[in-house]
């Protein structure tokens, strides 16, 4: 079957290393199948660049089905592009028009230094988790799983928070480069569940302090994070984190 193809013009941020100056470069991608994913379009552009003896555009990806959180960059000013609840790898060329110009740049945040082109360093997220984003249980004999009853509504709510893929779009979209949605989601998940209750105070304090130490900004309730989150994690998680933090400050005297 004959298929319509499309052409797009790209303005891509190129930066050879964390210390070097970056700049936008222009490319034209032709003969694209609208059913391609955005990353497959970049794959095609890269194949052409390689044949032309140039350095391909560096970007990270792994699962390419919206669950690992590896991919992510800003498309036309929006983290992960304009489609709601979608990671870059799940975006398809059919959501663009033939002839469009598309601007692509990396997450921009002080705590996410650029490694190369569209690839950034998100280690700060892992350090926030290691500050307290867990339940302190060792491996070994445990009470039977059904001895802890958790109502479906609570469990579902905890799941909604646990769905975070740690991609960093929330930070990239926030004018303050705050990591509150990411941090709040983990704090909320564990605060809702009985398993997380014993460490509630210590957890929220340590995670919030780590977030600040990493240089992420404060949350001023702008809501951009929720709007770009590919898993549509609610900003309520931030309110919950703030309440947990207040509670910890009051009880921990």
């Amino acid at each position: 079957m004959a298929q319509q193809t499309m052409t797009v013009h790209l303005k891509v941020w190129r930066q050879s290393g964390s210390d070097s100056q970056g700049r936008f470069e222009q490319y034209t991608a032709e003969d694209l199948n609208p059913h391609m994913s955005f990353l497959e379009m970049l794959d095609v552009v890269n194949e052409d660049l390689i044949h032309a003896g140039e350095d391909p555009i560096a970007f990270d990806s792994d699962c390419r089905e919206g669950i690992c959180g590896t991919c992510g960059f800003v498309i036309n000013g929006q983290a992960h592009g304009s489609e709601r609840g979608t990671t870059v790898c799940q975006l398809h060329m059919r959501s663009f028009n033939d002839g469009d110009t598309i601007v692509i740049e990396p997450w921009r945040a002080r705590s996410f230094p650029v490694i190369k082109d569209l690839v950034v360093d998100r280690d700060a997220f892992d350090r926030i988790i290691s500050a307290g984003g867990y339940v302190s249980v060792g491996t070994g004999p445990k009470p039977d799983a059904n001895s802890i009853k958790i109502g479906k509504d609570v469990s579902d709510k905890a799941f909604d928070s646990a769905a975070c893929i740690g991609c960093g779009a929330c930070v990239a979209a926030c004018p303050n480069a705050s990591a509150s949605l990411f941090t709040g989601a983990k704090i909320t998940q564990l605060a809702l569940l009985p398993q997380g209750k014993p460490e509630r105070t210590r957890r929220v304090q340590r995670m919030v302090h780590q977030m600040e130490d990493e240089g992420f900004g404060n949350c001023s309730n702008i809501g951009e994070c929720e709007a770009v989150c590919p898993k549509e994690i609610s900003i309520d998680n931030i309110a919950k984190m703030k309440r947990e933090y207040l509670r910890a400050m009051l009880s921990d005297t």
Partner: protein, 640 residues
């Protein structure tokens, strides 16, 4: 030559593991911190192993390719994880899970290993719940279960369609807690490129820093490989982009035997390829076959017609026709093979002609759209998003894709390879699934290995062998690092002049593998594949084009190294498949089928594990581990 000894404990099946645990030597608590353990890979197997060993007191170093351990391929698992809790009171037991797994694997796995897996399955659920993993629950607060992959009991635990994500985050968080305690040191964006042996014992690894390109040396008292499967040998698969066989293959080249490489699982319900640019394939959970009906047009002339214009009488519901008892619920391998046959006959649909319909029209009519939406809403949404077609209105198009590899490095009962000190866990080993894996059992195996087996068996090894420290200045590290460096330099120098990109050569390999080493194999085809692979390997080493430099982030160089290994492993897969003159599980040889076209197992001759020893001159040697069945009777699968 190493003798293949599975070190299976004597005694009754039910007591083997307990007995082995009792016999094991222990490392004194104060001494544990003096012992370094390397864990390569942070998927379910690696993260759970690293967390547990860190907590026991060992000094653990963990490595992964991704920028964060949380992103390992395990994150993508959808359907669920099995355990024998028998919460629904439907008659499940350790024995039943054991038997189903052995039978599902077409009697090509070890009884002792599989029984242990079933035994520890319940602990995994207890462990995950204690960590705060949000499994699906009933209104009363109990955990919910479902039946999966044609099982007759409801033993599958799940967390919406994101079971792998939630289990992995549980293990990841447990590991990050040990990072905080200083017991685990995490090295992300690292690729293990070789294993260092001192006096024949695994004593360290060489890694490449994927950001700076630097070579790094790490020494340890034991190395645990949890690097996942080799499904990406086929280029297109449901596996994540960075999944690879490099760590396992390089260990193989250092002496670890590779077992049953030809056992590959091809999953029937994936979204078909839409064009040549395709980079990976997306799985649609097999639960869809509970309600969807598979068909193709009877007449080749109809394949391009919109499906609703093809009248009922002109549709071939071929699974229902050929397998009246199981219909659309036949096992994965049977469903996959039949889809291929239909497309080979020219009856495939869609733009590429490599797809069959999975139709929900009747289910929606009978049960109502709401019920279907409730069951499969998220899957329908995902399908719609990827294909831009609404499966409530038009039938889905599906096609089989490589999904899981049952083969892997050979390990004994304690999960140690033929190299002392090198342990292998998760999908990277061959141990539990025989010739075919049942749904919801890979997550179970990864976590069983990592939480409940490896931490003890590694300790036993350390105590028993009385390993002495080595330094990374040891000449073995010099020599191994030189080998790695040489290979990279060689690739880069060919890469400057070459004309074919890594991806182009890689796609060619994928095509050879799908055509000849895929769902349906023949001796002739396998021999042809072998020749083609050798040719392609030569092409790679003469004409590959690699951009950029070796001293920094270079995705294509990473991929080139992995492709170089796939180009060798693929040949071993073809050899193994051509030596196995029978059909079993995921391995179907056209010469060995019944009159009705079903798999013909040949237990008299092939009831063994084929463990391959590497040979530099391309003539690998097979060692057989005979499989003994003392507790189950070998039966034939029948789905008619």
């Amino acid at each position: 030559m190493t003798k293949l000894d599975a070190r299976m404990p004597d005694g009754p099946l039910q007591q083997k593991w307990e007995q082995r645990l009792e016999e094991m030597k222990l490392v004194a608590p104060n001494n544990k911190k003096k012992h370094d353990v390397i864990v390569v890979g942070t998927g379910l197997a690696g993260a759970s192993a690293a967390a547990t060993m860190g907590e026991l007191g060992y000094s653990v170093k963990a490595f992964c390719i991704q920028d964060s351990p949380r992103r390992a391929h395990s994150i993508a698992a959808q359907g669920g994880i099995n355990a024998t809790k028998n919460y629904p009171n439907d008659g499940d037991s350790i024995w039943r899970l054991f038997y189903d797994t052995i039978k599902g694997g077409d009697f090509r796995s070890r009884e002792g290993n599989v029984y242990r897996l079933a035994q520890v399955s319940n602990h995994i659920i207890d462990q995950a719940v204690a960590q705060g993993v949000p499994f699906a629950r009933e209104y009363g607060g109990d955990l919910a279960n479902r039946s999966f992959g044609g099982a007759q009991v409801s033993r599958t635990f799940y967390a919406r369609g994101q079971t792998g994500q939630q289990l992995l985050l549980g293990a990841f968080q447990a590991m990050m807690r040990q990072v905080d305690r200083g017991k685990v040191k995490m090295y992300p964006r690292r690729e293990m490129l070789d294993l260092v042996l001192v006096d024949g014992v695994a004593r360290g690894i060489i890694t490449r820093n994927l950001v700076t390109g630097e070579m790094e040396r790490h020494a340890a008292d034991a190395v645990v490989l949890c690097t996942g499967g080799y499904g990406r040998t086929y280029f297109l698969s449901t596996n994540a982009f960075n999944s690879n066989a490099t760590a396992a293959w390089r260990c193989h080249k250092r002496g670890a035997y590779f077992a049953n490489p030809c056992y590959v699982q091809i999953h029937p319900t994936c979204i078909p390829q839409s064009g040549d640019y395709q980079s990976k394939l997306t799985l649609m959970s097999e639960s869809l076959r509970n309600d969807g009906r598979v068909w193709v047009p009877k007449d080749e002339a109809d394949v391009d017609k919109p499906p609703h214009q093809i009248p009922e009488s002109e549709r071939d519901y071929y699974l229902e026709r050929k397998y009246p008892a199981f219909g659309n619920l036949v096992p994965r391998d049977v469903a996959s093979r039949n889809a291929k046959y239909m497309c080979d006959k020219g009856l495939g649909v869609g733009a590429t002609g490599r797809a069959v319909y999975l139709d929900f029209r009747d289910a929606i009519e009978e049960q109502g759209r709401d019920v279907i939406e409730d069951k499969y809403g998220n899957l329908f949404h995902m399908y719609h998003k990827i294909t831009d077609e609404d499966p409530y209105e038009v039938p889905m198009r599906i096609y089989p894709a490589v999904h899981y590899t049952m083969g892997g490095l050979w390990v004994d009962y304690e999960l140690m390879s033929t190299i002392p000190g090198l342990f292998v866990a998760g999908e990277a080993n061959f141990s539990d699934h025989g010739a075919n894996r049942l749904g919801a059992s890979a997550l179970m195996q990864g976590l069983a290995d990592g939480y409940f087996v490896i931490p003890f068996t590694v300790g036993n090894f350390i105590a028993e062998y009385d390993v002495q420290k080595v330094s990374t200045d040891h000449k073995a590290f010099d020599a191994t690092e030189d080998d790695v460096q040489d290979q990279i330099e060689r690739m880069m120098s060919i890469g400057k002049e070459g004309s074919r990109t890594v991806i182009e050569i890689y796609r060619d390999l994928g095509k050879i593998m799908y055509d000849q080493v895929g769902m349906s194999r023949t001796k002739e085809g396998l021999e042809q594949a072998r020749e083609e692979i050798v040719g392609l390997r030569e092409e790679f080493w003469n004409d590959v084009k690699i951009p950029g430099r070796a001293d920094g982030y270079n995705k294509m160089l990473e991929l080139a190294g992995r492709l170089a290994d796939f180009l060798e492993l693929s040949e071993l897969m073809a050899i193994d498949a051509s030596e196995r003159d029978e059909s079993c599980g995921g391995h179907f040889r056209e010469e060995y089928q019944t009159d009705e076209g079903e798999a013909l197992r040949r237990d008299d001759e092939f009831c063994y594990v084929a463990a391959w020893e590497y040979d530099e001159d391309g003539d690998p040697k097979m060692h057989k581990e005979e499989l003994e069945f003392e507790n189950v009777e070998l039966s034939t699968r029948s789905y008619k």
